[in-house]
């Protein structure tokens, strides 16, 4: 500061301005508490007479270099913001448990009883098409995975259930799942079987079961 300037400052203020370190504290507190970014004019107006917010601000900016918080310029105003690389801390993960959709549980049931099982077969049993999303969801849950490709035309991919599936449902193997007869005995199948549609094919399926797992 030249002598002239010092004299002007002297004239402007009857009181001496606080030391720069103190001014820096002031700028810090104002930027922290303010609901909006603050301009230099605004800072000067709030701080005691004779303060130089610009110098204080620059010093503060240096102090926060490399810290978790930074002094940033927003237009002509100034604000404190968390460092961008720490943005992940501002996210909170919550875990929510939901019931599987009807389509998903039915698809899963068919795969568990008929594995290895192609998508076409699932659709045939369900009588409706199976969306890609449903299978993806079951894959993501790690309850089903790809099995061997079927040695039939087009070599379609098959699905089988996983060890995680067995773990989740408390089964030692998919063989432990009750068969259709037992389901009927249990009252889970209420109506009589259609004549002709006997359960032979189902018994065959049981033998196929877990060819991939063994």
């Amino acid at each position: 500061m030249s002598d002239d300037q010092a004299e002007v400052a002297q004239e402007e203020s009857l009181f001496e301005a606080p030391p720069l370190a103190e001014q820096e504290r002031m700028v810090e507190a104002v930027l922290f508490a303010s609901a909006d970014p603050v301009s230099l004019t605004d800072l000067a107006a709030r701080m005691p007479h004779g303060c130089e917010p610009k110098a204080a601000l620059e010093q503060l900016q240096k102090r926060y270099e490399g810290r978790g918080v930074r002094v940033v310029r927003v237009g002509d105003n100034w604000a404190l913001r968390t460092a961008p690389d720490l943005g992940f801390l501002m996210q909170k993960e919550t875990v929510e448990t939901r019931k599987l959709s009807r389509a998903a549980i039915e698809t899963l049931a068919i795969i568990s009883y008929h594995q290895p099982c192609t998508r076409a077969e699932i659709e045939e049993i369900r009588g409706v098409s199976v969306s890609r999303g449903t299978l993806d969801q079951l894959m993501e849950l790690e309850w089903i995975r790809f099995g061997r490709r079927r040695m039939s035309p087009g070599r379609p991919v098959t699905y089988v259930v996983t060890a995680q599936f067995l773990d989740h449902f408390g089964l030692e193997s998919a063989r432990d799942l009750p068969g259709v007869k037992e389901l009927r005995a249990a009252g889970l199948l209420e109506s009589r079987p259609m004549p002709g549609l006997d359960e032979r094919d189902e018994e065959d399926d049981q033998d196929d079961l877990f060819e991939d797992e063994s």
């Binding site: 875990v95 939901r98 369900r126 009588g127 109506s191």
Partner: protein
């Protein structure tokens, strides 16, 4: 106070008395009950509350109440109750102790009153100190631009073995499915429910809501659901009685859960 009374008073009392009377009116309004008044009066003794003369204080209070009566100031009942109690205390403090009396001594009562006054004063002091502290939003401030915490939802899906089996049964019987036809189609008998449950129990290894044992489709129609719920519940009680299942309920109106009893 009526104008008449005021006129009478000015006739009888000196100017000094009238001023004192007015001060009294104001003061009684300003006091928060007899204890507050006592605390105020005790300050005129100009000693530490620990060394205060309760006898003197009782005397002061009684004079105050007497004066108020003379001035026909209506005192709230609790002031009069306190006056009566202090009169009693005064007599206890002045008379030699009666050995046949089993109650607390005058000294004990006086000590308690001193304690009450000290405690009230201490709390007033504490309140003043508390309010003199730096306060949020006045002396110190919170972050002006708080950054919202983004919530990431992580959904996990779940299904029970019963869900799985029911789903399979649903799929396998879809072609052949026709609605249950009965004479009274919205009624499930307990026998039917019992038979159904018997078959299901071997697979009920985990706790599952009783409501999941309703026959397929019955939960959709309110009438059917009511009947099926009642029948299934009755059947589950029967099964529990036979020792085949265990029942539990988290609380009143909470879902009832059942599972097969391990043997």
């Amino acid at each position: 106070m009526a104008d008449n009374d005021q006129f009478d008073l000015s006739d009888i009392l000196s100017v000094e008395d009238r001023l004192a009377a007015e001060a009294l009116i104001v003061d009684v309004d300003g006091f928060e009950g007899p204890l507050d008044l006592l605390l105020q009066l005790s300050r005129t003794q100009k000693v530490d509350l620990m060394k205060i003369s309760i006898l003197h204080l009782a005397q002061q209070y009684l004079i105050f109440v007497e004066k108020a009566k003379e001035l026909r100031i209506e005192l709230a009942a609790d002031y009069l109750v306190m006056a009566a109690w202090l009169a009693f205390l005064k007599s206890r403090l002045l008379l030699p102790p009666d050995p046949t009396d089993e109650g607390p001594s005058g000294e004990e009562l006086a000590a308690h009153l001193a304690f009450q006054l000290q405690r009230l004063e201490a709390m007033r002091d504490a309140a003043a100190k508390l309010m003199a502290r730096d306060q949020k939003g006045r002396d110190f401030f919170v972050r002006g631009i708080p950054e919202e915490v983004q919530r990431l939802r992580n959904v996990t899906y779940t299904a029970t073995l019963l869900d799985l089996m029911q789903a399979y049964a649903r799929v396998r019987t879809k072609d052949e499915f026709r609605p249950f036809v009965m004479d009274r189609e919205a009624i499930l008998s307990m026998e039917q429910a019992l038979e159904r449950m018997r078959g299901l129990i071997p697979f009920a290894v985990d706790w599952a809501d009783l409501s999941s044992y309703l026959p397929e489709g019955w939960e959709l129609d309110p009438k059917k659901r009511r009947s099926a719920t009642a029948a299934t519940f009755a059947a589950s009680l029967e099964l529990a009685k036979q020792g085949q299942i265990e029942l539990r309920q988290g609380g009143t109106f909470a879902p009832i859960q059942i599972k097969a009893r391990r043997r």
